[in-house]
Amino acid sequence: MSAFALLGLTLRARRRRLLVLGAFALLFLAAAVAARVLVSDADGHVDPDRLFMVGGYPLVSAMLLFGWLLGRFPLIATLVLMAGLASDDRRDGLARLYAVRPVSPLAVYGVRAVTLGAVAFLFCGALLPLFDLILIGTWAGPATLVLVASYVLVYGGLTALLSVWSRGDAWLALLCAIASMVWDALRRADMLTVPPGTRDLVTFVLPPQAALFELEGAFGSLQPIPWDAFLYVAAYGLVMFALAGLSLAKRDLA
């Protein structure tokens, strides 16, 4: 299938982003190795008390921050890799070069989105378990991979849709992510003062943060995977991809 012809070039054009993500991943792993070497207990696990004794609150806080950031890494990797999925080509005029060839733009961008999503999934699917294995000597099992897949689906689909309409696709997706986190936190704390209809609509349109938190909870506490939450986020992501495809087929190449 000729749409696959651009795969090598797509990855080549994103090699800097891959290198930056790789550098960040190494930073996480280096932190985990350092913590393990410096403050591991008799079982080889990182001991928080020893961590406190070595570096006080700053070191403990730093490790907690690393852990929190690691949880956001699938989101970051997806946004970094998917940024400009279609908008870069529209800006550079490449989209027109594809459009005059007898190949479906849906196939070209579909293959690209799947490839970049797969790269983000493999990247994070390797980093998260490795970090856990180094730091605590075990990993959360398939829940890790389900969590990574959820982020890739939700934010990959959202970025793809925004990419057809805007050059600031990844930034807008990040804004949506932050908005949904804040919205979900306010909703949980019952601090939303908007009418129930509006509240439900906004919750429905924003990325499904509540379901993602549920999946993160299972990942963090080694609980069974909440498949209903995963199905919800997968449906959200697929709807976003479908809307992106529809927009791609209909929108002018200005």
Binding site: S2, L97, V100, D252, A254
Partner: protein, 317 residues
């Protein structure tokens, strides 16, 4: 083959807090019929609508009024089915791409098998003198070489319709001459070529008809010397006639002949409707004893015709 029927394109920018929506009529009521085969030029001042015309033709944009058809199909459908060769005004590909792999990938998008695509890419590299740059990253190419890469990708698919926006931009004189030969080759193969350019002298050398756009409207359609006897709409033809002997017989054969100037005795300017009339009148002149030493076609340069059509208020293209 290609028909624009009252086609128009209006761009409306979204309202901003400091102003309302802005409306721009990039093309207005364009009606053109372009037969299959042959080369057409599109010229006009900046903002005349040349690129928008091409965007409608290739289905990048939908007309807001009227219609565009290629072989009876909507442009987007035609292009999806048959493809088209296209060089954008500012050809760009990601700087990290290497020249040959980029051409191979774009050839693959033409629906070619991998081995055919590789062969076609190599042919294009050779044809456009890109072999020394085959393994270079695009970011390292000069403007002229990048433009040649743009031309190379346009020629990969051997499509029936070629649309080239400013093809000579950045090319050195040698490559302008080579491009002329390439376009002549495409024309001889029966392909339909449309090219937009500000270089009127160059346009005149490679196309048969020229569409002058101004303010989004078709101001005039000219024929160039290359149209040679094909068009019924062509204006009178002017020739420079040089006589070796006296001009006595000239009066009868060419009643409207006028001397070129006092410094050029024996040189006259004559006007005829077509080549057939020229031959008849020359025959009469020679039969009457006139001695003809030269007959040279005198075409008014496109630049002069464009300037006249645009009037003194028009901006040169």
């Amino acid at each position: 083959m290609i028909e624009f029927v009252g086609a128009g394109k209006r761009f409306v920018s979204g309202p901003r807090p400091w102003r309302g929506p802005v409306t721009i009529d990039a093309l207005k009521d364009v009606t053109l019929s372009i037969p299959e085969g042959g080369a057409w030029g599109v010229v006009g001042p900046n903002g005349a609508g040349k690129s928008t015309l091409f965007a409608l033709l290739l289905g990048f944009l939908q007309p807001t009024s009227g219609a565009v058809r290629i072989r009876g199909l909507a442009p987007r459908r035609y292009v999806r089915r048959h493809g088209a060769a296209y060089l954008p005004e500012r050809f760009r590909v990601p700087g990290e791409w290497r020249v040959r792999p980029a051409l191979v990938a774009l050839a693959r998008l033409e629906g070619l098998r991998p081995d055919v695509a590789a062969r076609r890419a190599d042919e294009a590299l050779q044809r456009l003198g890109l072999e020394p740059f085959a393994d270079r990253e695009v970011r390292t190419l000069s403007r002229g070489v990048l433009q040649r890469l743009g031309l190379a990708q346009a020629l990969l698919g051997e499509r029936e319709l070629l649309v080239l926006d400013e093809p000579t931009e950045g090319l050195d004189p040698l490559w302008r001459i080579k491009l002329r030969a390439i376009l002549e080759e495409q024309r001889a193969a029966g392909r339909t070529i449309l090219l937009a350019s500000h270089d009127l002298a160059e346009v005149e050398r490679v196309v048969e008809r020229v569409v002058l756009l101004d303010g989004g409207r078709v101001r005039e359609v000219f024929e160039t010397a290359l149209a040679g006897g094909k068009g019924a709409t062509r204006g009178p033809l002017r020739y420079r006639l040089e006589l070796a002997g006296t001009a006595r017989e000239l009066e009868e054969a060419f009643p409207g002949a006028v001397p070129v100037g006092p410094g050029e005795p024996g040189a006259y300017r004559v006007t005829v409707a077509d080549e057939a009339e020229l031959s008849t009148r020359l025959g009469a002149l020679i039969a009457a004893g006139g001695v003809v030493s030269a007959v040279l076609p005198e075409t008014e340069p496109l630049e002069a015709r464009v300037q006249r059509a645009l009037g003194s208020g028009g901006e040169a293209t």
